[in-house]
């Protein structure tokens, strides 16, 4: 009866091997590496960069363990720090020939020392949280009301333009947080205006109202439109933050949306919060300027962005700045009336007026959009002024749709869509991080050893089984966390310790039950079987209640508590598997084969099957059955 079919053993062995495989990368430690990522929004890192890095290394006769592309950056791993620093200089020299213009960020970093085949199987170590690694964490709140206000402003000016174009008379336009109100002379004009604006500005819901103030056309933002404005603003802010964080040269920045209006920025390894804050919170870096054809008279010369390899074209700029990124309302890829890809740009009213004056006086001359990064400008677009325009204009040229999308993105990157405020900030020194790792690790280790010693002493061989099952639980837990690529934090390590402490409960339940069966006089094999079977219901009950608390924490917890909850919940699941199925597997393997099992090593005196042994246990059984 205490035998598992072969497939169960196979399952357990597979789980054991998988657990080992995915846990191992965490034990290898980290090796020095050089990471190459894009230093500018105009530079893309791709598989071709790998070849360039390899070339640079061969040229400097530096040997790398491997060079690989991981989606955003290229990493090269080295055996020691001396080689790493030599390699960094070599790569940096090859990729950034002009030292003052860093097109690529070449940063020293760490990668797992695990063999390459493991990485190919996606067996990667867990990320270490900032509290274990050191670094800075910002939580930024995006001012959504400002984003909506900005959009309403834009809609109001668009409505004004549209009404003027159609020569519809109106008394004035007012705007508030919810939308736009237009005062009109009578109902028939209102109807025409409504049809016109519903067509032109579908994001607003237009309706005619008759009231004390006369006839009014009211455009309200729908909930969906408001949500969309918020979403766009957040995405643009995240995009802008990415560009700015790139300047810090951080190897693995985390920039993520949290909730509907928040952005988390985590910069591992960076301790200089003042500089990080300065760069992240900086204002726009986009300028619209006229091109100076005479190179000698140019106030400034910037390179033009390249889409293909070839010699760099330099663009001379006039001194006056027509508009800046702060005045940019929108930039998007679109199709012009001739069905060619174009970039549509919208500026605010002030910039629109300036633009109108400049374009009127400079018809036929080229204008450039310049993006400044790290104090160096780059012309992302140079186009000839074809006519007089104001707030809205289109840039056309020999563009592919991809190029217009890129230009629009780069243009937008110069500005934040809505103001942001830092509402949470955390910095952890690297030495504190190392201390936290050691403390977390020690807690788990010594706690585990104490439990193991006690279990083995108290339950003898069954205690050994329980301990092995507990170790297997730890293995599974770490493997699952690694597989999920979870970020390990100190509360996460505390959760591992606590989960192990609670998981032993299942084995205690089983062992106690088996003892009870033995005392009741059951034959050893039967006692083991009933022990496991009867304990199962209780184990399930116990784990469900713990899981309810874990899930509540997961749902309502944030930050460190979330990390705790994730580990806790996964730990409960792995412990059910290991404590019940794995330990049973061990027991079956050990005792299941023995046909005539006389004694079970579980820490209490017992002998032979059939229930004839010590008098007191025997009598206990009989009374119990008779009552």
């Amino acid at each position: 009866m205490n035998r598992y079919p072969w497939w169960r053993y196979t399952l357990l062995v597979v789980a054991l091997l998988a657990g080992l495989l995915y846990t191992l990368p965490n034990l290898y430690g980290e090796a020095p590496a050089v990471q190459v990522s894009s230093g500018k929004s105009t530079v893309k890192v791709d598989a071709a960069t790998v070849a360039r890095v390899e070339q640079a290394l061969t040229a400097a006769s530096v040997k790398a363990d491997f060079v690989q592309f991981d989606g955003n950056s290229v990493r090269a791993r080295f055996s020691d720090t001396d080689t790493q620093i030599k390699a960094k200089d070599a790569i940096s020299g090859a990729l950034n020939p002009d030292a003052s213009d860093t097109r690529y960020i070449v940063a020293l970093n760490l990668v797992s020392r695990s063999p390459e085949w493991m990485a190919k199987l996606r067996a990667l170590p867990m990320y270490l949280g900032l509290d274990l690694r050191g670094g800075v964490h910002f939580l930024m709140q995006v001012d959504m009301r400002a984003a909506v206000r900005q959009s309403v402003d834009t809609y109001a000016s668009e409505a004004r333009t549209a009404l003027r174009e159609k020569r519809l008379r109106f008394a004035g336009i007012t705007r508030d947080a919810a939308g736009v109100t237009i005062n009109l002379p009578d109902a028939s004009v209102a109807q025409t205006a409504r049809d016109l604006l519903s067509d032109r500005l579908p994001s607003l819901q237009w309706s005619v109202q008759e009231g004390a103030e006369g006839t009014q056309l009211v455009g309200r933002l729908s909930a969906a439109a408001t949500a969309d404005i918020g979403k766009q603003a957040l995405l643009q802010n995240i995009e802008t933050l990415h560009k700015r964080v790139n300047e810090l040269g951080v190897a693995e920045p985390v920039i993520q949306q949290q909730g509907l209006d928040r952005v988390v920025v985590q910069l591992p390894g960076v301790q200089d919060t003042a500089r990080a804050k300065d760069i992240i919170g900086r204002t726009a870096t986009l300028q619209f300027r006229l091109v100076e054809a005479d190179g000698g008279a140019a106030a400034e010369t910037v390179p033009q962005r390249q889409t293909t390899e070839g010699p760099v074209t330099m663009v001379g700029l006039k001194r006056d700045v027509i508009a800046t990124g702060e005045q940019l309302k929108q930039a998007s890829a679109t199709i012009d009336q001739n069905q060619r890809p174009a970039v549509s740009v919208r500026l605010d009213d002030v910039a629109g007026r300036a633009m109108r004056t400049v374009t009127r006086e400079n018809l036929g001359r080229p204008m450039a959009i310049v993006l400044y990064e790290k104090g160096r400008g780059e012309a992302i677009s140079v186009a000839t002024i074809q006519g007089e325009f104001g707030t809205d204009f289109q840039i056309t040229g020999n563009f592919t749709p991809q190029e217009t999308a890129d230009i629009a993105l780069l243009t937008r990157a110069g500005a934040l869509a809505a103001p942001m405020e830092i509402i949470e900030e955390r910095t952890i020194g690297p030495s504190l991080g190392a201390e936290n790792i050691a403390q977390g690790f020690d807690s788990v280790l010594y706690g585990f050893v104490a439990i193991a010693v006690f279990m083995c002493a108290y339950y003898a061989l069954f205690g050994v089984f329980s301990t092995v099952a507990l170790a297997f639980n730890l293995l599974c837990l770490v493997a699952v966390l690694s597989l999920l690529q979870a970020t390990l934090t100190l509360p996460g390590m505390a959760a591992i310790a606590l989960t192990l402490g609670m998981a032993i409960d299942a084995n205690v339940l089983i062992n106690e039950r088996i003892r009870e069966e033995l005392r009741g006089g059951a034959a050893p094999q039967l006692a083991i079987n009933t022990g496991y079977e009867k304990a199962w219901g209780t184990i399930l009950d116990a784990n469900v209640t713990t899981l309810i608390a874990g899930l509540a924490l997961l749902a309502f917890g944030s930050g460190p508590v979330r990390g705790f909850a994730v580990v806790h919940c996964i730990g409960i699941l792995t412990s059910m598997f290991s404590a019940v199925m794995f330990s049973r597997g061990l027991v079956n393997l050990w005792y299941g084969r023995q046909k005539r099992l006389k004694t079970v090593s579980i820490g209490i005196p017992n002998s032979q099957g059939g229930g004839g042994s010590p008098a007191r246990t025997g009598s206990a059984t009989t009374t119990e059955l008779e009552v």
């Binding site: 301790q271 100190l490 205690v508 106690e512 219901g537 116990a542 209640t545 924490l553 508590v561």
Partner: protein, 347 residues
Amino acid sequence: MEFFHFKKDKDIPFMRHVLALNAVSFLSFALAVFFLATRGLNPSIEFTGGTLVEVEYTQAADVNRVRTTVEGMGFGEVQVQKFGTSRDVLIRLPIRGEIPQVEVSGRVFEALCKLEQSTTGTKQYTTPQGEQVSRPSCTAGDGTEPMRLARTEFVGPSVGAELYENGAWALLVTILGIMAYLAIRFEWKFAVAGIVANLHDVIIILGFFAFFQWEFSLAVLAAILAVLGYSVNESVVIFDRIRETFRRFRKLSTMEVIDHAITSTISRTVITHGSTQMMVLSMLIFGGPTLHYFAVALTIGILFGIYSSIFVAAGITMWLGTKREDLVKPGSGKDLDPNDPNAGAVV
């Protein structure tokens, strides 16, 4: 090895003194509520909002001097204390309108640095693993660093308010979830008894934190919720056994049934809690100051968990008048329903 072995007719009369013990429970509960009401919790800046700066000195720090300096900066009510060792100093500053919060930690560091006759700057260095790192530094004239910035934390007021709300929700959902589970699995009397017993634990943990004015952080909240889920197990195991005993022994009175149930599960109760406590103790000893109050909350929770499951949960079940008929459906013909998947699921 065996710690517990009891003969059948020698059940420990736990319920004999239950009245006295429940009075003690009630008293400690009332005390906890009293301290919570009068002293209140000492919430961490995660909840209140504010700034926290941890500075590590090379020599034992003079807390009073640090306090005088920081108080002189006009940030309002400042808390300065040692953290872990005598060289680590933790400074807590409240939110004050007039100074931009994001600058507070920098200014405090600068002022403390000046106190050591040193100047602040930024230091670039490479870690032994080759990682490049920069950090603010405080360097004396001879190039040594008398102090280092170990960590800073700033939490805005809106975040704190949200955490309170989320914490309350988590607690409520956990309580309702567990009650619903107990009510389905057993019956309402057990659900009430189980939850009262465990809320009793939660209030007592909070009472300790209020009395000693220990810092109540998010980690402590997590510990409390974990304990809540964990000690309900205890009640579940005892309830399971009470039901089982009702089925098996028809003639016993409710009190005897409860005594028997507790006696036969006491071994498991003590060993399980002992094991968990060993792990928590390891955290308390080796986990350092960050995990300290987390482990303290767990310790109190585990110890009171044993007591409350036995005396409070079982006691309330008895006071609520649990009868055989509540658990063993009348008319089913046999006591051990073979269709019940949990029949005989006991320890």
